[in-house]
């Protein structure tokens, strides 16, 4: 029995028009944080406070927030890798066909994150790996930062002497999460279009982790570097060549404010189908969906599946020149800043569709609802994976869109049947 008492009261720490316009258009009422609220679009700082042991408080049934308490299990670079490695080992231990390896010891289906180490903790392991391929390039990323801040490339061990635990020249680097870095094998053969490197930004909405229910936004985009890509070592310092973050590219000389260096995913699809063929393009997009779902499954067991929470992630994916997608990172607070007019429209619609799913009918929420919105409200979202649906014996809910993407995958049947999941993926 729900108490219908008027309009939804909202609060936000993030003063962005794409958010506020969406709240206002629903006739919701803005309130302050210390008042009674129903919907709070929080920054990651705030969510930490709400769920912290010292400063936290209980949320009531009619309150919804836009982050999971420990989202960082997915959105911190080091924890994401840790969870995926753990997940793979678990599957291997239980003999799952998903964890199958090839003759070189590489996972066939689960090798979607570039080789990564934590620094300084795994420094020695890293050195061992580095020496196997001394001409390779690695990318150093601070664990806790975003927008491309603090990232640099190295191709010589001397460039990261600071992180060596044995180094006499450095003072012992504190283990605090601020200083920690991850170092990953740099993908130096990205797929180039027009000679330029790009990455994919895809939005994924998770309404619950157990059972896993997630949606993929159909209107993702590619972010192009403004400068021609070159793997040449002399350009390792040129961030305009290597980092696709708009925050970085925006300051390049050639940054264009009309298109913002962005392409829609459907453009990408058209280009790939025209130049590479339909089968490999379909396969690529299927793999992209696959790696997103696997990453969510990897963190699902450790996620605090608080019923007051939903989350819209920004997935960053790079495609290499063999058309293999790599998961680079997941963002808990994807940028809501608009760099172009098209961008503004896209983000506005993104939030609109997100709210339609997370807050049914735009009414005061009841966090005990089953989180199963009807198909009509999905807007530009498509069901990516619905664990409940997959595990029941409902006939195949394969939403095969015209573009050949198949979403709404059957799921883990393979675990029981022993068949590799990819055959049921389509």
């Amino acid at each position: 029995f729900r108490i219908m008492a008027g309009k939804v009261k909202w609060v936000t720490d993030i003063e962005k028009s794409v958010l506020i316009n969406n709240f206002e258009k629903r006739g919701w009422i803005q309130v302050a944080e210390n008042e009674d609220w129903n919907f709070y679009w929080m920054s990651v700082q705030t969510i930490r406070n709400v769920f912290s042991v010292e400063t936290g408080y209980r949320l009531s049934d009619d309150q919804i927030v836009n982050h999971f308490p420990n989202h960082y299990e997915l959105t911190r670079k080091d924890l994401m890798v840790k969870n995926i490695k753990r997940y793979r080992k678990e599957l291997e231990k239980e003999g799952s066909p998903l964890a199958e390896k090839d003759e070189n010891g590489k996972y066939i289906y689960l090798d979607f994150v570039p080789v990564t180490f934590m620094l300084p903790a795994d420094y020695n392991l890293f050195v061992e790996e580095f020496r196997k391929n001394p001409s390779s390039t690695w990318i150093m990323k601070p664990c806790g930062k975003a927008q491309g801040k603090g990232i640099f490339l190295i191709n010589k061990l001397s460039q990261i002497k600071k992180w060596s635990r044995d180094s006499k020249t450095s003072s012992f680097v504190s283990q605090s999460s601020k200083e920690a870095y991850v170092i990953s094998l740099y993908i130096n053969n990205p797929l180039l279009i027009g000679g330029k490197k790009f990455d994919l930004r895809l939005y994924v909405l998770v309404s619950t982790y157990r059972p896993l229910r997630c949606y993929m936004y159909k209107l993702g985009f590619c972010r192009f570097c403004t400068v021609k890509y070159t793997p040449s070592t002399s350009e390792l310092d040129n961030m305009f060549v290597h980092l696709t973050n708009v925050a970085i590219q925006k300051h390049g000389d050639d940054y264009n404010h009309i298109h913002g260096g962005k392409w829609t995913v459907s453009n990408l699809r058209l280009y790939l189908e025209s130049t590479r063929g339909k089968e490999v393009t379909n396969k690529l997009f299927d793999e992209i969906h696959w790696i997103i779902v696997q990453s969510l499954k990897a963190v699902a067991p450790v996620m605090n599946n608080d019923k007051h929470c939903f989350e819209c992630y920004g997935y960053d994916i790079i495609i290499d020149d063999k058309l293999k997608p790599w998961l680079i990172e997941v963002n808990a607070s994807p940028s809501l800043t608009s760099s172009t007019a098209n961008d503004r429209i896209l983000k506005y619609n993104l939030i609109n569709d997100t709210l339609n799913i997370a807050v049914p009918n735009g009414e005061i929420p009841d966090c005990k609802w089953n989180k199963s919105p009807p198909k009509e409200v999905l807007g530009n979202y498509e069901v990516l994976y619905d664990e409940e649906m997959a595990q029941s014996d409902v006939p195949d809910r394969d939403l095969r869109s015209r573009s050949g993407q198949s979403i709404g995958i059957k799921g883990n049947r393979a675990r029981d049947s022993g068949k590799p999941i990819l055959t049921t993926w389509k």
Binding site: I193, G194, G195, K196, F224, V227, K228, D253, D254, N256, I258, H259, G261, W263, S266, N267, L270, Y271, E273, S274, T275, G277, K278, T281, N342, S401, R402
Partner: protein, 525 residues
């Protein structure tokens, strides 16, 4: 005098033989024939027949067929054997004259720009500059030369003004406007088709025939049309038959097959000698600096670099267009174009043909740019991209920039557009005219650019499928009229040209095939 069909045919045959003689296909055929002599199945008694059979089974006959077909497509049927060569360019004297004046104007403008800026039309590059250009050949987009002093040679509306002022001196219109008079901007009495004729010509676009762009949408199960169509397309490609391909693409190309199908229709196979030719052009670019290079550069910056779809390919555009300006093989097409390109020589090499450069009629490059850019979605190998573009230019796009009476020429397209609108949407036409918003003023820029830069890329490619399929640009005029028909309700409510422009500003959400189909086949006429 009517040309006797037999002598017309033998003229055509003679001309095709003439053109293919000495071509690389010719030498390959000879080589193949010679090689076949060693084969056991070739017998001396039946030598001719056996060699012919061999050429057939090995696919060489098909290649020859494709080449002949290509020639037929590109070159118009010859007129009377006694007609002077100008008639092949353009039979109507007043049109030739108008094109001549237009060209003079362009050349004058170019020359004055040269004088103003103290830059020669063409000169050799110093060696250091050559090296530099070679190094950044793949990323010319990052250059920032000072182009502020270069201005476009003309704007589309200047060209439209010229077309509007065309008059046939032999045709007396009379001062009194009557219902028979054409109320549009084009005032020359060219023959254009009406809807019944268009329906016949474009019969494959009919309501009961499957189309890509309509019958492959998400709601339609692929078994109904799409799967079979793809299967047929693959078969056409396997057979390597140009004529079959041209027929096939009238119903649209599957995305994955389009690049190959277009290449087959245009008879482009990217042989080693083609790649070599492209490399030669490239070295011409490196060695010589042309004034138009700066114009090209500026135009790319203004158009493609700002386009949501095309910005990615900016660097390819420079490569293709800079080579194109130096490609004198394009001059061949001028025998059937009303245009006569201004020719210039590298400074100091006056009269030496190997140092000649020509200026294509559309020195304003943004139409070029927009016709190259969509091709970048299909071809990423520069020499192939170049050849496809060049072939598209000499078959189709040149007609959009020169004054002629050809049914696919821009004058006819404009007239066709206005006539369709005036005949089938008279109320709308009259209303727009009354408020000072002559429809052609808005649709001209769409047609002159073959809709590139206005439609979403996938829709544009579907439209160009039909240009290739029907070997005609008339579909551009039909689409332009269909767009007006589609937005007629909103257009009836506007009261100014600016407001009309606003209604028609954004075509990026349009689906072209339904629009065409409805306009041609489902509108009550």
């Amino acid at each position: 005098a009517m040309l006797d069909p037999d002598s017309g045919l033998s003229l055509t045959i003679a001309r095709i033989v003439q053109r293919l003689k000495g071509s690389s296909l010719h030498s390959q055929l000879e080589r193949q024939a010679r090689v076949s002599l060693h084969k056991p199945e070739i017998k001396l008694e039946s030598l001719k027949e056996d060699v012919k059979d061999f050429l057939k089974t090995s696919g060489w006959e098909k290649k020859l067929q494709n080449a002949v077909y290509s020639e037929l497509n590109v070159f118009p049927s010859p007129c009377h054997p006694a007609a002077p060569p100008e008639h092949m360019k353009e039979p109507l004297a007043y049109m030739r004259k108008a094109q001549g004046s237009w060209e003079k104007r362009i050349l004058k403008s170019l020359n004055s720009m040269c004088t103003e800026l103290s830059i020669p039309l063409a000169q050799k590059r110093p060696v250091s500059e050559q090296k530099e250009l070679l190094n950044k050949w793949n990323e010319m987009g990052t250059d920032e030369p000072d182009l502020s002093l270069f201005r476009p040679v003309y704007a589309p509306k200047d060209f439209l003004e010229v077309l509007m002022n065309l008059r046939n001196p032999n045709y007396e219109n009379g001062e009194q406007p009557s219902f028979r008079n054409h109320l549009g901007l084009i005032q020359v009495p060219l023959k254009v088709k009406d809807i019944p004729e268009l329906k016949e010509d474009f019969s494959e676009l009919g309501l009961n025939i499957g189309q890509l762009g309509i019958d492959d949408s998400a709601q339609v199960p692929p078994e109904f049309f799409e799967n079979e169509h793809v299967r047929v397309g693959q078969k056409v490609l396997a057979e390597q038959d140009s004529a079959a391909a041209q027929q096939y693409v009238r119903q649209g190309c599957p995305t994955a097959l389009r690049a190959d199908l277009w290449a087959l229709i245009l008879n482009i196979s990217n042989q080693p000698e083609d790649i070599l030719y492209y490399d030669q052009l490239k070295s011409n670019v490196i060695q010589h600096d042309l004034l138009v290079d700066s114009l090209i550069y500026k135009d790319v910056k203004l158009t493609a670099s700002n386009d949501d779809y095309y910005f990615v390919f900016e660097d390819y555009l420079y490569q293709v267009l800079l080579c194109f300006s130096r490609d004198t093989s394009v001059l061949e097409h001028f025998t059937y174009s009303s245009a006569t390109p201004p020719k210039s020589y590298i400074r100091g090499k006056l009269g030496m043909e190997e140092y000649a450069v020509f200026y294509p009629p559309n020195v304003n490059y943004n139409s070029f740019i927009l016709s190259v850019a969509p091709l970048c979605f299909l071809y990423h190998e520069p020499s192939k991209l170049y050849q496809i573009f060049r072939e598209m230019y000499v078959r189709f796009f040149f007609r959009l920039h020169s004054i002629s009476s050809h049914p696919s020429g821009i004058v006819s397209l404009c007239l066709l557009f206005e006539t369709l609108l005036q005949t089938h949407l008279p109320q709308l036409f009259y209303h727009l005219r009354e408020i000072g918003a002559q429809p052609l003023r808005i649709s001209f820029k769409w047609m002159v650019r073959a809709f590139s830069g206005y439609l979403a890329t996938d829709q544009l490619l579907l439209l160009w499928d039909r240009i290739l399929g029907y070997n005609s640009l008339e579909i551009l005029a039909v689409l332009a009229a269909a767009v007006f028909a589609f937005r007629a309700v909103n257009l009836m409510e506007v009261t100014s040209l600016a407001a009309a422009e606003a209604v028609l500003a954004d075509l990026s959400t349009l689906k072209v095939m339904p629009l065409l189909q409805i306009f041609l086949f489902a509108t009550v006429t």
